[in-house]
């Protein structure tokens, strides 16, 4: 089973890297860019077959290590 955990900064948390990327995109003349927030993607292969079990495992992984829930949100997706 393949899964993806996406970690993003919570709203209101300053993201200087996102801001710098946003500035760079705007400097290319890409005028449609409003704002950029940078995050992280973890593609994880699991030896599990049960979806609920996989989701529980990924939730534990996200809360224990992948995300710092003080400032970050996470989203779990089962890809296949």
């Amino acid at each position: 089973m393949k899964a993806r955990v996406t970690v993003t900064l919570k709203n209101g948390v300053l993201d200087p890297q996102g801001k710098a990327i946003e500035g760079a995109l705007k400097s290319f003349g890409l005028d449609g860019v409003d704002s950029v927030r940078q995050g992280k993607v973890f593609d994880i292969e699991l030896s599990l077959t049960d979806k609920a079990e996989a989701e529980a495992l990924l939730k534990a992984a996200a809360e224990k290590l992948l995300a710092n829930t003080v400032v970050e949100n996470y989203r779990i997706e089962i890809l296949s």
Binding site: L14, P16, Q17, A20, N68, V71
Partner: protein
């Protein structure tokens, strides 16, 4: 004062801390490896030194905070034992939940390595008794992620309980103008609720010799040396 200094893969200031502790306390600190499960019997103080544990992968301090030895550090802190985290050590303390908040990328995005003035907070703690309240000291900072952030309630609690140990300031003591990294309320270091855990971004261990720029960091180690735990 029996102290133990923990080395993680990528720590690089453990030698400086060991030297500062040896000099101030007259005792040889014990060196602990991150995979050790226990602290030596009778340890009074555990130090998490600066550096780049696990290459700062994922988030600074995130992986070190889950190292085997950290369970022993948590138990030690819960019993009232002293814990000092400097720079990466502070990042490890917030990641491990021993201190609140988080250290984000510096507001200016740059790694900052320079001398920095700090204003000392309260002095009735095991870490700062050799200083005077409001004293301005000069130490070194060297970090890319030292921008202290916490939610409004946490900041209000830290301020209300007088748990800000040090604030960044200019040589004249102006905190706002002296903030190098965007930290909320110019916070450079904080205490735990019971004042037995201190996390700070600046490096007092590097300012203990006039030969290398000053001795304002000595106070912290002399405070620790003078501290006697209430029986």
């Amino acid at each position: 004062m029996k102290s133990a200094v923990i080395t993680f893969p990528g720590s690089n200031r453990e030698g400086d801390v060991i030297r500062a502790l040896r000099r101030a306390t007259g005792h040889e600190p014990v060196s602990i490896w991150h995979q050790d499960m226990d602290l030596p019997q009778g340890t009074d103080l555990v130090v998490l030194p600066g550096g780049f544990s696990y290459g700062d992968y994922l988030r600074c301090g995130a992986i070190a905070a889950r190292a085997p030895v950290m369970d022993a550090v948590r138990t030690h802190a819960a019993k009232g034992g002293l814990v000092l985290g400097i720079c990466n050590g502070f990042q490890i303390l917030v990641e491990s939940g021993l201190l609140p908040g988080v250290l984000m990328r510096n507001a200016g995005l740059k790694f900052i390595c320079k001398m920095q003035h700090l204003k000392v907070g309260r002095t009735d703690t095991p870490f700062t008794s050799a200083y005077s309240e409001g004293q301005i000291i000069k130490v070194a900072i060297a970090h890319g992620e030292g921008n202290y952030v916490a939610d409004t309630d946490t900041i209000a609690r830290l301020e209300g309980e007088n748990r800000v140990a040090f604030r960044y300031c200019t040589a004249e003591g102006n905190t706002k103008a002296g903030n190098p990294n965007g930290s909320l309320n110019d916070i450079a270091g904080i205490y735990s609720e019971r004042l037995n855990v201190l996390g700070m971004m600046p490096h007092p261990e590097n300012l203990i010799e006039t030969l290398v720029g000053g001795i304002d960091g000595r106070g912290l180690f002399e405070s620790l040396s003078a501290f006697r735990r209430a029986a």
